[in-house]
Amino acid sequence: MSETPLAVNAVDLTKRYGRLVAVNELSMAVAEGEVYGVLGPNGAGKTTFLRMLFGLIRPDSGTLEVLGRTWKADGPRALDGVAGFIESPKFYPYLSGRKNLELLAGLDGAGAASRIDSAIDLVDLTGRDGDKVGGYSFGMRQRLGVAASLLREPRLLVLDEPANGLDPAGIRDMRALVKRLAASGLTVLLSSHNMDEVEEICDNVTIMRTGDVVYHGTIDRLREQAPQQAHRITTSDDVAALALSRSSPHLQVIARDGALHARADQSVIDSYVASLVTAGIALRSLALDEAPLEALFFMLTETSPDRVPSTYEPSGAVA
């Protein structure tokens, strides 16, 4: 196996707020050049981890190395080569987007100012860069946040829920932008609560739940462990349809929220639908429920640990 340089190396990182353990012994290794996802619902500890990475808060224990530097030994120099934003990027609303970038470029030192035009162009803010940020939409601020990060010509780009709060077109554009940046060889560490986003963009993922890591590994490995596809079914007689499902040992059907939720291989679902019609039960709707990976994500992060499928292995192979 070839040696892989690490952009982020966290070992047993813990952060407590009083009795609340926000991050519990988190270990994570992000290799250079990869697109890495940190996934979890709100309150999982993703942002707390990123705040520690940026030195905004101090860990109570553990070590964190970023591009070969630590906050303890190097102070703010630990952020050399690192850029990104935490939660939604914030700027001075009374200044234009360009003026904000000019100010930040001044903090970054020589060379950053010369990248303003190209950064604005890359995030498609040309023509709006002279407007005050106070009048920007949420999506424009997100893109300005990416532009502000790019001024630093980073080797590691950290984005905390970059598509959060965006409309569908904004989400599409943001994902395309992240993919473009990743394709340029940049290491991207992306936090999200959206399984689709991570699946689409990332190579490896750490899934967190209330401060704990519940999965660490490749997306492919996670996909292998995902449960079968679920369907949402409504019929003319849900009680009878539920009773009929019990005749098939490979079919799991539960009644929830005024519909039936069936989980099985596609062929079993097909047979079940056919049997409903044969039994005189009218099929009123059939739709894909949650995607398999999303279903696994919910299982990992929302249900009690004993309900996670027995086939699930918490650590996937990365290498």
Partner: protein, 291 residues
């Protein structure tokens, strides 16, 4: 459920990245450029320039001078009396307000706009940011006092005239000496003004609320003045930040005394150092979880 982390085998740590950083000078430049782009800062300086001219013109046009105030009775007799009247008045609330407009807002506005994380994720240390903001606040305080003083003195001399000034001991002070004394009197206001700057910075850091940072020093100044006017707190009064604003009285008597000036300087420096030390420690230790 147990969790095991699989770490990729044979990882090597990246060579540290070398990036040129702005440092303290860049942070100061950043803060000054930010302040210069704020309308409030520019308007404050404009007011410091124009308001004294209007005040001098209005007082000079009044038939009855404000005799209840120090040097109020002499404002029609000498252009050197007017700046001392304005100085006594401004020390009550104008100076604390002028410095708080920037110093009380300069840290808290980062909380208000949520921009702490924007600037602290750029290889710039909290120390650099703190001292840049502090120096910018001090610079603004010095600038406002200078503009206010020059405008007041110049407009007074032009509107009222350059007659000799009557000292607090009744002695007559020739114009050249009077100009030097009123300039020195205004310069002495700088020390407590910087004390208020420190206080406003502390309140800005601790409260994280620009309104508190701007208004609270003003209120504290009023409370000190009220408490200082009570006869039973003479010892305590020495340590009030408002007391050094009156230290110029020692220059206007026939036999000048400097003890009160030295004490005023010490008290002002004490307030400045203590406030900045607490603010600095607080900012350095703070977890940036919101802004």
């Amino acid at each position: 459920m147990t969790t095991t982390i699989t770490t990729p085998a044979r990882h090597v740590v990246l060579r540290p990245s070398h990036q040129r950083r702005g440092g303290m000078g860049a942070a100061l430049q950043w803060e000054v450029r930010k302040l210069a782009s704020q309308a409030r800062t520019r308007y404050t300086l404009l007011i410091c320039l124009i308001a004294p001219i209007a005040i001098v013109a209005v007082i000079n046009s009044q038939q009855r001078p404000p005799k209840d105030n120090i040097y109020g009775r002499y404002v029609h007799e000498s252009g050197y009396a007017m700046p001392l009247l304005v100085l006594g008045f401004a020390a009550q609330w104008v100076f604390p307000l002028l410095t708080s407009i920037v110093a009380g807002d300069i840290f808290a506005s980062e909380d208000q706009h949520g921009t702490w994380k924007t600037i602290l994720t750029r290889s710039v240390s909290r120390s650099s940011i703190f001292w840049a903001k502090t120096l910018a606040s001090i610079g603004f305080a010095v600038l406002t006092l200078t503009v206010f003083a020059v405008s007041t003195i110049a407009s007074s001399l032009l509107i009222v005239g350059m007659q000799p000034l009557q000292g607090l001991g009744g002695q007559l002070i020739p114009p050249a000496t009077a100009l030097a004394l009123i300039t020195a009197s205004w310069a002495l206001a700088l020390a407590p003004l910087l004390g208020f700057t420190g206080l406003a910075i502390l309140l800005s850091v601790k409260s994280r609320n620009p309104s508190v940072g701007i208004v609270a020093p003003l209120i504290i100044g009023f409370v000190m003045q009220l408490a200082g006017s009570l006869g039973s707190v003479d010892l305590l009064r020495r340590f009030f930040l408002t007391t050094p604003f009156e230290s110029w009285h020692g220059l206007l008597v026939e036999h000048r005394f400097y003890g009160v000036i030295e004490q005023g300087l010490l008290v002002s420096v004490g307030w400045l150092v203590v406030c900045l030390a607490i603010a600095y420690t607080s900012l350095r230790r703070r977890d940036i979880t919101g802004g």
